[in-house]
Amino acid sequence: MSTLLPIKTKKGWLVLGIAGLGVFFYASFSSAFEGYANTDYTNVFYRVASDTADKWSLSPTVASGQFQMWGNRYVPNVNQKLCSVGSKIFRANEQFPATAETIYLRIFKNVSKPEISSVGDHTNEEFFVENHTSADYHTIADFTDIFSNFVSSSVDYTYLKIKSKDQSVTCVTLEAGNTYWFVFQHEANANDTYYGFSSAPQVFTNITGMARDSGDSINTWHEISTGGLWSFELRNDLTGGIIGGLSPPATPSYNFTNQDFGILGNFFRDVIVFLFVPDSANLSRFGDLFERIRSKPPIGYFTVFKDTLSTLQVASGSITLEVTAITGVVSPIKTGIAIILYVILAFWVIRRLMHLDL
């Protein structure tokens, strides 16, 4: 054995043994490897240290067309990839039948206070997460089934995916030392009241909050006590969706079935997991490698052109042909031309494949 390891003395073996035991017990008892925080350090919930149960930020009832918002300031200690934000959402006092609503999570960078404004682009707004009506996002309407049985309260857990201003879903990097405001916003209807959010198992230390409160004017931030902060989860992937129930998602600790081997067996299992199972942040960053070169030559010559070409669409024309009166004639002709085009395409594909020179 001594020939395999460069340890010649008993003291060396003692140090190695203590280090091994340290790893063993760290892996066995460290909460970082348990629960839905998983082995991914960047997926962290933030909540107030004193909270032990669900804590809801009050949303004032406002008149129709006004909006409600809460803001949390976050200063990451290390660079942190952010793709989606998870939180519980509570909807109360809904006037049924429920109608689709839009909620926003806006992210501001390096401002003393986030801008208060209605829906739309904000100055200094870096990115925003929107609970949008498109298929990519979870709308409040998606909650309809859940809220249709509304009695006194309804809670659900959802992920809001990061969107850039050009509406594309993307991931961003929260840079260490910079200030980010996470502002949750809901444009209210009369008598609607939204509350958020949940407590979670991990504690933040570098976050403060502000909100609009019922007594505040529309453009005033009201500093709130830590007990009124909403909690949220920063995720570095785009997975997830609406997850029912009162608890945050019960993700298996290791992304596979968490087999129980008993106390001693679990110790060894945890050690093996600690040593050999890579965390998802480590794996997911490989997916970002292409992003580094996608706009660089020579790949960029293709991707940039492809992106530009994808903007080709049937835009509003400068000429308006009034064909309403002859729709019965034009529609079959259009359909016929479309069929002819597809037939030509089919012939082209066949010919292309027959003369394929690989």
């Binding site: 790893v23 600690f274 040593l275 050999f276 199972v277 890579p278 965390d279 480590n282 794996l283 960053r285 490989f286 490698l289 580094r292 070169i293 706009s295 660089k296 030559p297 790949i299 960029g300 010559y301 293709f302 991707t303 940039v304 052109f305 530009t308 070409l309 903007t311 080709l312 669409q313 049937v314 835009a315 509003s316 024309g317 400068s318 000429i319 042909l321 064909v323 034009v330 002709i333 259009k334 359909t335 031309i337 479309a338 085009l341 597809y342 395409l345 082209w348 594909v349 292309r352 394929l356 690989l358």
Partner: protein, 87 residues
Amino acid sequence: MITNFFLTIFYNFLLVLMLPITALSDVTLPANISSSISTASTYLGNINSVFPATTLIIILGIILGIEVFIILYKGINWLIRKIPTIN
């Protein structure tokens, strides 16, 4: 931890390999190309009421997709043939 260690080494190795590319400046298309596509979109809008312009765009996309697939296929084959002992 061990897997993470090797993955980190591999990741950094890839970063070094990509360095000659990442050091280059971003590609920017001439503005005329963007404006010409915008103009083409307007023209398509003009004839859309009597001609299936949407179908035309779909077919154009399919043709481009097939051509890109063929180019990629050839490119990957070319790369594979550069591996020693593979003809």
